[in-house]
Amino acid sequence: MSRQVVSTSLSVGLATGLYGLSFGAIGSAAGLGVPAVMLLSLLMFSGASQFAFVGIIAAGGAPLTAISSAWLMGVRNSFYGLRLNTVIGPRGLWRLLAAQLTVDESNAVSAAQVSPRDQKLGFWLTGGAVFIFWNTATLMGALAGNLFGSVETWGLDGAAAAAFLGLLWPRLKNNLALAGVGALVALVAIPLTPAGVPVLLAAVVALLPVGGKK
């Protein structure tokens, strides 16, 4: 059912693209400047890591804290890569490109397909579509953010909070206690520690036997 793969890939690409608008606007409102915001979408190309990076810079955090938070947010991409390597088996330069296109969406669409051919197609199409729409939207958001001013007026800070909740939601079912402790640690740490540290402390929670299902 290749036509179904194409439409799923494109709609996921478009949906994620719109979310890129808010990244562009939030990034430029954080004072990063359009070139830095665009470099994040082109080179880092990993939504949660990009938002973490920009959030910490906006809150006045140190560059090293921003780098390490973005880095930690990206751990799961390694595990997508492990799966995708066996599914699409890219060689040479294709492997470097496949790694760059490895994000939540491309892995999810690929994993949802049945035949190996569709799994391969789903990865490349979704990865490519997300990359194109995400970067186009980032540029538009960054430019519009500069034109129209405040992130708050347009509710983009509310959109970003909702976006994180939306990413977390499907994972809550099996990890409610862990998410609760992670949120609580952040809540306590925000007023007590420098910007960026609350997120790092939440990462440590994942290593402790909290809400464990072995």
């Binding site: 830095a36 560059p63 991409n77 799966r83 790694a99 909070a161 992670g182 925000i190 007023p191 609350p198």
Partner: protein, 99 residues
């Protein structure tokens, strides 16, 4: 700032390429579990950070309303993109009304 961005991007890319380079049998079930757990706790912390803080201070404002509406929509299985849009709409609306 540009060099910080490039360095951070390389750091994130290192995870991506790592998955394509190491043999699956070296990771195992435990490694996969830790990755899933880390994603959950980081996202939970980011919801709190993005929803309830401003410059190292805890605040309760229009974003809390956005999160409540987003949670309700997610529970009703509304597609992701509409949840994000509703977050913007509610936060902007609540501010417009002067809260």
């Amino acid at each position: 700032m540009i060099s910080t961005v490039i360095f951070a991007s390389l750091a994130v890319y290192s995870w991506k390429i790592l998955g394509f380079l190491i043999p699956d049998r070296l990771i195992g079930r435990r490694g996969r579990l830790i990755a899933e757990r880390m994603t959950v706790s980081l996202l939970a912390a980011l919801v709190v950070l993005q929803g309830f803080s401003s410059q190292s201070v805890l605040v309760l404002d229009a974003r809390a309303a956005a999160l409540i509406v987003a949670g309700a929509l997610l529970a009703m299985r509304v597609p992701y993109i509409f949840v994000v849009l509703a977050g913007a709409f509610v936060a902007a609306g609540v501010r417009f009304l002067g809260f």
